[in-house]
């Protein structure tokens, strides 16, 4: 357990080195909320859209920062750091599990204060719901890290990984309820709405809004039990897959 924590700690420290990325993401978040969110909330027919949008943006941040672990894995493979990691007195499984937890935890450390800002904007009505929502978002962050690790070790080309993340980001974010309520998606296209139903970002954002007490304004939010079950499933699948694939690839120079 201590060894896993050492791996987690290293990943969190590594993350803080990406100052420019963290600054850029921070600027993006502020611009999205204070400019786009503020103006668009005045022209939409959806009430309380500003709070809805701010909550969604925080979840997008959590998603994109959790995905960043994949880039670390590429960097390590390119710079020969994997060999060094393998030489450490840490088992393969501890290393892989530590990476997955570290990837999720570090994004939570970064996005946690922003989630707090959103909660201040929306107001907390039920602290228990907030705790349940935060615990579920932990699982979501770990699951996204697992997804990113799976893609990074599954695709050997850095370029292909880059484009796949770009496309995934474009589609997963837009085909979820992070930016707009399900009823609006249904009106636009039932296909979009149906796809959004199974999207982990939908579960995460709806759960966070439920925790923030916004469900009264948006009754079409996913049932919290369904959302929690969806996130547990997402977390289990991708953490399991990433651990299995990453562990296998680490043997015999499979990362090269």
């Amino acid at each position: 357990m201590t060894k896993i924590w050492t791996v987690v700690e290293r990943d969190v420290r590594m993350f803080l080195q990406y100052k420019f990325m963290l600054i850029m993401r921070g600027i993006w978040f502020v611009a999205q909320i204070s400019l786009f969110g503020l103006v668009v909330s005045r022209i939409v027919v959806v009430g309380n859209y500003f709070q809805y949008y701010a909550a969604g943006c925080a979840i997008i941040m959590l998603f994109s920062t959790s995905m960043f672990i994949g880039y670390d894995i590429y960097e390590e493979a390119e710079h020969g750091v994997v060999e060094y990691l393998l030489s450490l007195p840490v088992s393969r499984r501890e290393l892989v599990l530590g990476r997955s937890i570290g990837g999720g935890l570090r994004s939570f450390v970064y996005v946690g204060p922003l989630l707090g800002v959103v909660l201040v904007l929306t107001g907390v009505t039920n602290p228990l719901n907030v705790i349940v929502a935060f615990l579920s978002l932990f699982l979501f962050a770990f699951g996204v890290s697992g997804l990113s690790i799976t893609l990074a070790v599954g695709i050997k080309s850095h370029d292909k990984f880059d484009i796949l993340l770009g496309v995934l980001d474009a589609l997963i974010v837009r085909l979820s309820t992070t930016l707009y309520p399900k009823v609006a998606m249904m009106q636009a296209s039932p296909v979009y709405s149906n796809l959004a139903q199974f999207n982990p970002l939908t579960f995460a954002s709806d759960l966070f809004r439920w925790g923030a007490g916004l469900e009264g304004f948006f009754p079409d939010l996913t049932n919290p039990v369904v959302a929690i079950a969806g996130l547990i499933l997402f977390f289990s699948i991708f953490v399991f897959i990433s651990i299995t694939i990453y562990e296998r690839k680490l043997e015999g120079g499979g990362w090269q």
Binding site: K19, F20, I23, M24, I27, W28, A31, Q32, L35, F36, L38, V39, V40, R42, I43, V44, V45, V46, D159, K160, D162, I163, L165, G166, V167, D169, A170, L171, R174, L175, L179, Y180, A184, M185, Q187, A188, S189, Y192
Partner: protein, 275 residues
């Protein structure tokens, strides 16, 4: 005799100028297409914005403010694409500056001015090339402009593209620190994007009334004079008749473009000479 020699040298210099700039354009174009994966990601994001986000927002936006958000946003995404591609040149210039690549640039048989102008132009042309499929998409959904309108649109978009390219180069040469460059680029990027009429009709009197006291006045003013707003609204004025055409759209873009093209060329020359 002396006069004819001067003329000969002058003519040979101007021919050289004509020859040197295409080489820089070619170099920068080759560099641009090395980012093919990045471009593919950007295209998918632009298309997702148009065909998913804008389609959904169409049902959410109040019809008294925007009748059809998809049609409204289509010129906006065209400008977004132009901006993103033209803005990319700064990243390369900053990289070259940090790696002292400018020493090699200075050894090339061309004048400083040719080099600087070539970089600004290539950034602009890259923006135009990347933007053209999205402009065509806009024409498909909004209808075709007349020939004079088309020429005006292309001219204004090109002026915006070289202005953005110049702005990006000016930011890139202002610092050697990658972090500072990325941060300043991010601030400018998001400020120009969101304080504009790309996503919302900031010129609409109804919206302006609602934003009084909510959005600071400088942001609203910036949105109205922003070259990205002017470019998007020029296309909208021709194809959607809303907002009505104003000569200010063209004048604002030309002023922006002139300032940043000249300013960035001077800054670029100073930077490569300083190094």
């Amino acid at each position: 005799m002396r006069e004819s020699w001067k003329e000969e040298v002058g003519s040979s210099r101007s021919k050289k100028t004509m020859k040197a700039i295409p080489h820089i354009l070619e170099h920068d174009f080759r560099m641009f297409f090395r980012y093919k994966w990045w471009l593919a990601g950007l295209i998918s994001m632009n298309l997702a914005d148009l065909f998913i986000m804008a389609v959904i927002y169409t049902g959410m936006i109040r019809e008294d403010i925007i009748v059809n958000y998809f049609k409204f946003f289509s010129p906006g995404i065209t400008i977004t694409a132009l901006f993103a591609a033209a803005f990319m040149i700064g990243r390369e210039v900053n990289f070259e500056q940090r790696r002292s690549f400018s020493h090699y640039m200075l050894s090339l048989p061309m004048t400083r001015f040719e080099l600087a102008l070539g970089r600004v132009l290539s950034g602009g042309i890259r923006g135009m090339v990347y933007m053209s499929p999205l402009l065509l998409t806009t024409f498909v959904f909004l209808g075709l402009p007349t020939l004079p309108q088309l020429l005006t649109i292309l001219g204004v978009l090109f002026a915006i593209a070289i202005g953005i390219s110049g702005l990006s180069i000016a930011l890139a040469v202002s610092t050697k620190s990658f972090e500072k460059f990325v941060t300043s680029r991010g601030v400018v990027y998001y400020l120009l994007f969101f304080a504009s009429t790309i996503f919302y009709p900031m010129r609409s009197p109804q919206l302006l009334t609602q934003l009084q006291g909510v959005v600071p006045q400088p942001i609203i003013t910036l949105a109205l004079v922003n070259p990205l707003s002017c470019g998007a609204d020029l296309i909208r004025s021709y194809l959607l008749n809303d907002p009505p055409f104003s000569i200010d759209f063209i004048v604002n873009v030309l002023i922006f473009s002139a300032i940043f093209t000249i300013g960035s060329a001077v800054a670029y020359i100073k930077m490569i000479e300083r190094d």
